[in-house]
C-alpha cells in the first residue's frame, strides 16, 4: 500500500491515554512520534518521580533485535564494553564508537536469551549495524514500532507494580529483567531507567498499551501515580547525571565539522571501554588516545547561585575553556548542576571555573559570571535506587 495520506506524525500505542492526560496540550516531535512535553505542570511531574511514581512513554526509542549464533561476537565488535560479561536476563548500559573512537550513540542492551539481544538507543543505526554485521551470523531487525514501552519510576514504583500483581518484582536487581503475565500476554520488566531513582521499564506488545496503561494507573491511584512529559524527564536525568545523545554529545556519524564529536574518555565514560576483548570499533583510536591523552573532558559542575547555566560559556581566568551542554536547578538535591565540555586541562575534580550565564527577568537580561566547581559525580543517588529487595516507598 502506498501511504500517501499517512499522517505527518505518528502516535504511540499509549497515545489515547496520553492525550486524555495531557491537560496543557503541549507536545513535541520525538523521532516522528508526537509525545507530551508536559502533562500538567513540570514540577509536579518531576516530584512524582522523586516522591511517588511517574510514568513516561518511551515507545519512540529506537529498538533493534539482534539474534543469531554470532550475536554476542557481533555486539562485542559494535560496542566498547565486553558483552561476554552480560548474563542472560541482564541489561547493560553501553556505547559505541566509529573508527576514530568517537561516540556514535549510547543505549542499553538486553540479553533476552543466549543468542538474542535487544538494543535500545537514541539514533537510528541500522546502516551502521548492518555494516558491522558483515561476516557475522547475525540477524538484525528494527522493532521500534513492535515494542511499546513505559518507564515507571519513583519510590513507590515497585509498590505500584506489585499492586498490579507482578509478584516478586521487588527481588529484581538493578539492570535485571523479568517476565510477567498480563492480560493473557507476557510482558517484560527491567529495572532500568533514566531518572536515577528506583524504577522500572515495562516492555510490551503495542496492542497491550491501553489496557496496561489503565491497569497501571488504577493500581497506582493510591501511590500518587502521574504521567510525566519530556521536560520533567530532562530535569530528572540531569540531576541523576545522565548524558543525552544529541544534547551532550553529537552522534559521531552526524557530525559535519571536524573536531565536534567526542570519545568515551572525553565524555567521562571511559569506564565503558574494555580493551581486554577482541577488535571493536574505535579500539585503535582509543588506545592511541589513552596513551596520548584526551583533548576534552566532560565534567559535572556545581554552579554558584540558582540560575541554570544553560548554554553558558565556561572560562578559566579570562580564557574560554568550554561550554555547558545541559543544566538545571535540581529541586531535590538543591544544587545548580551543569554538564560541560571543557578543555581536558581544566577537567579535574575540584577545578574552579566560571560560567557566563544570561537570564531574563521581565524582559531584562542579566549576565552573571558564576563561579563553579568540577564535582565528582551526580548530585542525586538515593539508596533506594540500588536496594534489593526494592523498598515500597
Amino acid at each position: 500500500m502506498i501511504p500517501h495520506n499517512e499522517s505527518m506524525i505518528l502516535h504511540t500505542p499509549f497515545h489515547s491515554r496520553c492525550e486524555a492526560a495531557c491537560e496543557v496540550n503541549l507536545w513535541e516531535d520525538w523521532k516522528g512520534y508526537t509525545t507530551p512535553q508536559v502533562f500538567t505542570e513540570i514540577d509536579m511531574e518531576y516530584f512524582a518521580v522523586r516522591n511517588s511514581t511517574g510514568v513516561f512513554d518511551l515507545s519512540p526509542m529506537t529498538k533493534y533485535r539482534i539474534s543469531g549464533s554470532d550475536s554476542g561476537a557481533f555486539i562485542n565488535k559494535l560496542i566498547t564494553r565486553d558483552i561476554r560479561k552480560l548474563a542472560v536476563g541482564r541489561v547493560s548500559y553501553v556505547l559505541w564508537c566509529d573508527g576514530e573512537g568517537k561516540v556514535m550513540d549510547d543505549g542499553t542492551i538486553f540479553r533476552l536469551s543466549e543468542n538474542d539481544y535487544r538494543l535500545c538507543c537514541y539514533t537510528r543505526a541500522l546502516d551502521w549495524l548492518m555494516w558491522t554485521a558483515e561476516g557475522f551470523d547475525v540477524t538484525i531487525c528494527e522493532e521500534t514500532a513492535e515494542v511499546a514501552a513505559l518507564a515507571v519510576q519513583g519510590p513507590t514504583s515497585c509498590a505500584v507494580l506489585k499492586a498490579m500483581g507482578f509478584s516478586g518484582i521487588e527481588l529484581l536487581k538493578p539492570f535485571g529483567m523479568a517476565y510477567f503475565n498480563f492480560s493473557g500476554s507476557q510482558l517484560m520488566v527491567s529495572r532500568t531507567g533514566f531518572t536515577g531513582d528506583l524504577g522500572y521499564e515495562v516492555w510490551m506488545e503495542p496492542n497491550l498499551g491501553e489496557i496496561f496503561w489503565d491497569a497501571l494507573f488504577d493500581a497506582g491511584k493510591l501511590y500518587g501515580i502521574r504521567a510525566i512529559g519530556s521536560s520533567a524527564l530532562d530535569m530528572l536525568r540531569i540531576e541523576a547525571g545522565f548524558l543525552q545523545a544529541g544534547v551532550d554529545f553529537v552522534p559521531a556519524d552526524e557530525a559535519i565539522r571536524s573536531g565536534r564529536s567526542r570519545s568515551p574518555f572525553e565524555l567521562g565514560l571511559g569506564w565503558l571501554v574494555s580493551f581486554d576483548k577482541p577488535v571493536f570499533n574505535g579500539r585503535k583510536a582509543l588506545l592511541k588516545e589513552r596513551a596520548q591523552g584526551s583533548r576534552y573532558a566532560f565534567v559535572y559542575l556545581d554552579v554558584e547561585g540558582n540560575k541554570p547555566a544553560e548554554h553558558a560559556f565556561v572560562y578559566h581566568a579570562d580564557i574560554e575553556v568550554g561550554t555547558i551542554t545541559s543544566a538545571a536547578w535540581c529541586p531535590t538535591a538543591k544544587t545548580n548542576i551543569a554538564f560541560a565540555q571543557v578543555d581536558a586541562r581544566y577537567g579535574s575534580k575540584g577545578q574552579s571555573l566560571i560560567a557566563e550565564i544570561y537570564y531574563e527577568r521581565e524582559l531584562k537580561w542579566t549576565r552573571v559570571m558564576a563561579s563553579c566547581k568540577v564535582i565528582d559525580g551526580p548530585v542525586f543517588a538515593p539508596a533506594r535506587r540500588r536496594q534489593t529487595p526494592a523498598p515500597n516507598f
Binding site: I2, I9, D29, G32, R124, D127, R257, S258
Partner: protein, 540 residues
C-alpha cells in the same frame, strides 16, 4: 556617433547585470548591451501568451548568493524567493519515492523503500554536507592561480590548504575521491534502493553532458546542494514572478546606480587597439566606446565570435576552442488548463509542489545518456518537472498552470546536423508521452507548449550549444581551471581592459550571480578603487 562609457558590459544576463550594478555603484559610467529586445539572458520570464509567463530557461532559484541579494537590495526591487519543498520520483511499478520536507516523514518514506537506506541517509547527508562546506567559502572569492608566486595567490592558496588541512589525512583523501568519482558509484556506497539512488542522482547530471556513471559527476551533485534559501542549505526556491524577476531586480538596482541598459544591441566585435580594449562595434554599425569591456557571454562566444583571433594570445584561442560546453538539455514549457494528477498521489499532496521525476533507476538514467552520446535525444529521458504556479500565483490565470519541464539529455545537434522542426516535435512528443504515462489527464490539459532544443536555447539566449552552465562543471573546468587554466581571475591578461563575468567563470552557472560580482571586484581592484563587493558569509 560614439558614446563614451567607463565600462561596457556585453549581455544583460544576471551576471552581466550584477557586474554592471557593482561597477555603477562604484561610480563608473556603465552600459549593458543586450542583443535581444528584452533583458535576462537565461534568467527570463516572458509573456508569450497574454497572462501566461514563460520562464523558459532557468526555472528555480537557490544558488543566487544571499550576500548579493542583500547588498544590492534586490528585495526592494521586487525580488522575492519562495521555497517550495516536496519532490517525487515516480516509479514504473506505480509506486513513487517522495521527498518530504519534514525530516521524520522523510525518514519514513525512505524506510518504505529500504529501512537500511533510511538510516544510511543521515551518513549521506553528513558526508555531502562536509563537501559542501569545503566549497561554499570559495563561491564569493576569486580563485588563486596555483602557478603564480604573487603574494595574493599564495595567500589564497594557503587559505585553501588550511581548509583542506583541517579535514585530516583520510578526510582529504575522501574529498579527492569525492571530486573524481561518479555520482552512481558514490550513491552505491550508501544506498541499496534503486529509486532512492535515482532520485538523488539527478543532481549529479543536470545540465551536464555526462552520465551517472561518469567520473566527476559526484561533484556536480554538490553544485546543486550548495545553495540556500534563507540558510537552509540545499533547499530550492522559486523567484516570485518567474526567474525574470531576478534579472529585473538586478536591472532595477543597476539603473538606480545610474546605469544604462540598451536592448536590441548585438555586439559584433570587441575593439582592441594596442592590446587595450577601446569599445565595441554593434551589428548595426554603431560603435560604443569604453576602456573596460566585460563579457557576460560564454568563453567560446567571447573569444571566438566577438573577438579577433589576432587580438588574443594563441594559447587563449586554443583553450577557448577546446572549452567543454556541450549542450545536454532541452526544455518544455507547457501551459495547462488545470492541475494534472499523477498516479498514486493525490493532487493535494505536498510532494507535488516539488520537482517530479520519472526515472527510477541508475541504469535507466545512464541509458538516457547513451542516447545523447550517439547523437540523439533520450528516448526515456530524465525529466526535472515543476509546476511553479502551484506556489506562485503570478504566472498564469487562476486555476490554470504553467509547467516547466527540464529534459536531459538532448544533444546540440542530431547526428551532427541541425535540429529540424520534425526533430523538435518528436522530442517534445517523447517527453509528453513519458509524463502522460504517469499522468492520465496530462495530455488533455495542454493548452500550449513550447519545446526548446539546445539549439533553440543557443539561438535565443546565446549559450553555446545551449549549455545551461556556460561550460561543463567538471573538475577540469572548475576553480582555477574555470574557464581555462591561467584565465580564472576574470581578466584577460594580454588584453588590458578585457574581462569575463559570465557563468563560464568561477564559480559557474546556476543563477548564482557570484561570477558577476567576483569579476566586478577584480575590475575595481585593477582601477585601484575600493571594493564594494561583499565577501561571502561565514559558513560555520
Amino acid at each position: 556617433m560614439a558614446e563614451k562609457y567607463d565600462a561596457i558590459v556585453v549581455g544583460a544576463g544576471h551576471n552581466g547585470l550584477t557586474n554592471a550594478a557593482y561597477l555603477a555603484k562604484a561610480g563608473l559610467k556603465v552600459v549593458v548591451l543586450e542583443r535581444n529586445g528584452y533583458i535576462g539572458g537565461a534568467a527570463v520570464s516572458r509573456e508569450l501568451y497574454p497572462n501566461w509567463k514563460y520562464t523558459n530557461c532557468s526555472y528555480v532559484c537557490s544558488l543566487l548568493r544571499p550576500e548579493i541579494i542583500r547588498d544590492l537590495r534586490l528585495p526592494s526591487q521586487g525580488l522575492q524567493v519562495v521555497p517550495y519543498g516536496g519532490g517525487v520520483t515516480f516509479m514504473q511499478n506505480g509506486d513513487y519515492f517522495g521527498n518530504h520536507t519534514d525530516h521524520e516523514r522523510h525518514h519514513r518514506e525512505l524506510a518504505r523503500h529500504s529501512k537500511r537506506d533510511a538510516d544510511a541517509y543521515s551518513r549521506y547527508e553528513a558526508d555531502v554536507m562536509k563537501q559542501t562546506r569545503i566549497i561554499r567559502p570559495f563561491l564569493m572569492r576569486t580563485p588563486p592561480d596555483p602557478t603564480s608566486l604573487k603574494p595574493r595567490d599564495i595567500r589564497e592558496l594557503i587559505g585553501m590548504a588550511k581548509a583542506f588541512g583541517g579535514m585530516g589525512e583520510v578526510g582529504l583523501a575522501d574529498t579527492m575521491r569525492f571530486w573524481t568519482m561518479s555520482i552512481g558509484d558514490f550513491l552505491e556506497e550508501y544506498f541499496e534502493s534503486d529509486v532512492v539512488k535515482a532520485h538523488l542522482a539527478g543532481s549529479g547530471i543536470i545540465g551536464t553532458a555526462l552520465g551517472v556513471y561518469s567520473p566527476g559527476t559526484a561533484y556536480v551533485l554538490l553544485h546543486h546542494y550548495m545553495g540556500d534559501v534563507d540558510g537552509s542549505i540545499g533547499s530550492w526556491g522559486l523567484a516570485r514572478g518567474g526567474m525574470g524577476a531576478v534579472s529585473n531586480a538586478l536591472a532595477g538596482a543597476f539603473k538606480s546606480f545610474g546605469g544604462t541598459v540598451q536592448c536590441d544591441s548585438e555586439v559584433a566585435q570587441i575593439i582592441v587597439k594596442n592590446g587595450k580594449t577601446v569599445g565595441v562595434a554593434l551589428t548595426n554599425g554603431d560603435e560604443i566606446h569604453g576602456r573596460i569591456v566585460v563579457s557576460n557571454l560564454d568563453p567560446k562566444r567571447t573569444f571566438l565570435k566577438i573577438m579577433q583571433e589576432t587580438d588574443l594570445p594563441k594559447d587563449l584561442v586554443s583553450k577557448a576552442k577546446n572549452f567543454k560546453i556541450r549542450g545536454s538539455s532541452g526544455k518544455l514549457n507547457i501551459a495547462l488548463d488545470g492541475l494534472p494528477t499523477f498516479n498514486g498521489l493525490p493532487k493535494e499532496s505536498p510532494l507535488c509542489l516539488g520537482e517530479k521525476h520519472f526515472i527510477d533507476s541508475l541504469p535507466r538514467m545512464e541509458r538516457a545518456y547513451d542516447d545523447w552520446k550517439s547523437g540523439t535525444w533520450s528516448k526515456d529521458p530524465y525529466v526535472d518537472m515543476l509546476i511553479p504556479t502551484q506556489v506562485d500565483p503570478t504566472m498564469a490565470p487562476p486555476g490554470k498552470h504553467m509547467m516547466s519541464v527540464f529534459v536531459q539529455y538532448a544533444p546540440p545537434k542530431i547526428d551532427g546536423r541541425d535540429w529540424t522542426s520534425e526533430d523538435r516535435d518528436a522530442f517534445g512528443k517523447t517527453v509528453i508521452d513519458q509524463i502522460s504515462s504517469y499522468s492520465p489527464n496530462f495530455k488533455d490539459l495542454i493548452l500550449h507548449c513550447e519545446v526548446r532544443s539546445p539549439q533553440d536555447i543557443e539561438n535565443e539566449v546565446g549559450l553555446t550549444e545551449g549549455n545551461i552552465f556556460m561550460g561543463e562543471l567538471t573538475f577540469d573546468q572548475l576553480l582555477f581551471n574555470r574557464p581555462f587554466p591561467g584565465y580564472a581571475q576574470y581578466r584577460v591578461p594580454a588584453v588590458k581592459g578585457m574581462y569575463m563575468c559570465g557563468s563560464g567563470t568561477h564559480p559557474g552557472g546556476g543563477v548564482m550571480a557570484a561570477p558577476g560580482a567576483n569579476a566586478a571586484r577584480e575590475i575595481l581592484m585593477d582601477l585601484n578603487r575600493a571594493s564594494l563587493v561583499p565577501r561571502g558569509y561565514d559558513d560555520d
